[in-house]
Point group: C2
Chain length 218, copies 2
DNA sequence: ATATTTACTGACTATTAGTCAGTTGTTGTG
DNA sequence: CACAACAACTGACTAATAGTCAGTAAATAT
């Protein structure tokens, strides 16, 4: 009996339709100015139905966050897949992260939003769990690629891979965050192109990880 | 005639009293669960009065953000003041940043909150301006200390000071952010003490900036 | 004594997240 | 087919709360 399965597919589809509508509305007006009625109208559903699929406005936004994270992760695997050596994969991931923030600013915004407001969540712990699961998955991926680099000898470090992964991830997130901030709010006092800052950062980091003997010349 | 002056002092005092009350309430219950009526009650004032001093709940929270930033900046100058050499001052600032995040987690939380939600601000541009002013001030301070280090020869770098300041600030912010996140939401998969991660980071960075010939042995 | 300015009040309004009793349509059963 | 059981959906309603504003009180100036 395929009825059950079809029902589940349709339910999944509805969930996606709602997320599509929510993206449309949230990305257009910003989260705080968007109402659940706006989303309901865009989805051509009643507000009540939204709450059958998402328990709160914030959880709906978390759904968008998850889409963003999935997209980012996909860009990471694609980028890493284009290289053989560990160090090149790590570089490619760094670049992909930055590209993601430029190509999907609204998803990036959603990620930053939760980064800054999970600390205020007193609510639903299931939601928080879901949020952290995404983060861990990416950390694990970075860790694996670092391990590859250490194994193939293109990355040299005194640190445990696990720690290094956290440090690198934290660093690059912070650098991209500040670049987004500058780009969003330009300041005539700043003499450089914010985009160049990222190249500087990558160059800066390169020195710390690369084993010059093993690296391909480019 | 000192009446005008006294009035201004009293007004400043009221503003501070309101901020005290707001801290008490927001830090206790978290921003989203706190109401303006709660704050009014804690301040022993009517809600209307709050709005004579702050235009919105968010602006009130921004007032707390500013107090936090001032505290942080103060810790930076104190920390830097305890050293002679540029590189030591920079290290001291890095440590002070981390100490700040641990000693004043609620102020730190406020800073993170705005970091993640300015991107959503469609509102009051005066408020955004105020927010960015704080950030610039700290960046300027870091830049000055870096310049000192370059001048006294304890810091060596190929980059422009301005860019280096942004990179370092972004990096360290990101690392502290991820440490806070891990600390707040411990994970048995993580084998290390999140606090050690910061030491690792500082060690990691040290290698990039220090001129070994010039450094004091410790 | 009286006018003017300043600080404050709290009842009120508007908005909106979230609920729930009821409707509609689909699937399974005798 | 008739009818029961179930699932998906609806939208009017409630509760909570940010923000307002006409009115009061108290200090200051004339």
């Amino acid at each position: 009996m395929g009825v059950q399965e079809r029902r589940e597919r349709e339910k999944e589809q509805r969930r996606n339709d709602i997320l599509d509508a929510a993206e449309q509305v949230f990305f257009e007006k910003g989260l705080s100015l968007s109402t659940m009625d706006d989303v309901a109208e865009a989805a051509e559903l009643s507000k009540g139905t939204l709450y059958l699929y998402f328990n709160s406005k914030q959880e709906l936004y978390l759904g968008i966050h998850q889409r963003g994270f999935a997209k980012m992760h996909e860009m990471f695997t694609t980028a890493a897949g284009m290289h053989k050596q560990g160090v090149d994969k790590i570089r490619a991931i760094g670049n992909a992260y930055y590209e993601f923030s430029k190509k999907y600013p609204d998803y990036y915004k959603a990620i930053m939003y939760f980064e800054g407001s999970v600390l205020d969540f007193t609510s639903d712990s299931e939601m928080i769990e879901l949020y952290h699961r995404d983060g861990k998955q990416v950390m694990q991926f970075v860790q694996n690629v670092l391990s590859e680099g250490i194994d193939d000898g293109t990355i040299v470090t005194d640190f445990q891979v696990e720690r290094l992964a956290f440090i690198l991830w934290g660093q690059i997130s912070g650098v991209i965050q500040i670049i987004s901030k500058i780009s969003q709010h330009p300041d005539k006092q700043i003499q450089f192109n914010p985009f160049d800052l990222f190249d500087d950062y990558m160059q800066f980091m390169g020195k710390l990880l690369i084993n010059p003997g093993k690296e391909d010349k480019s």
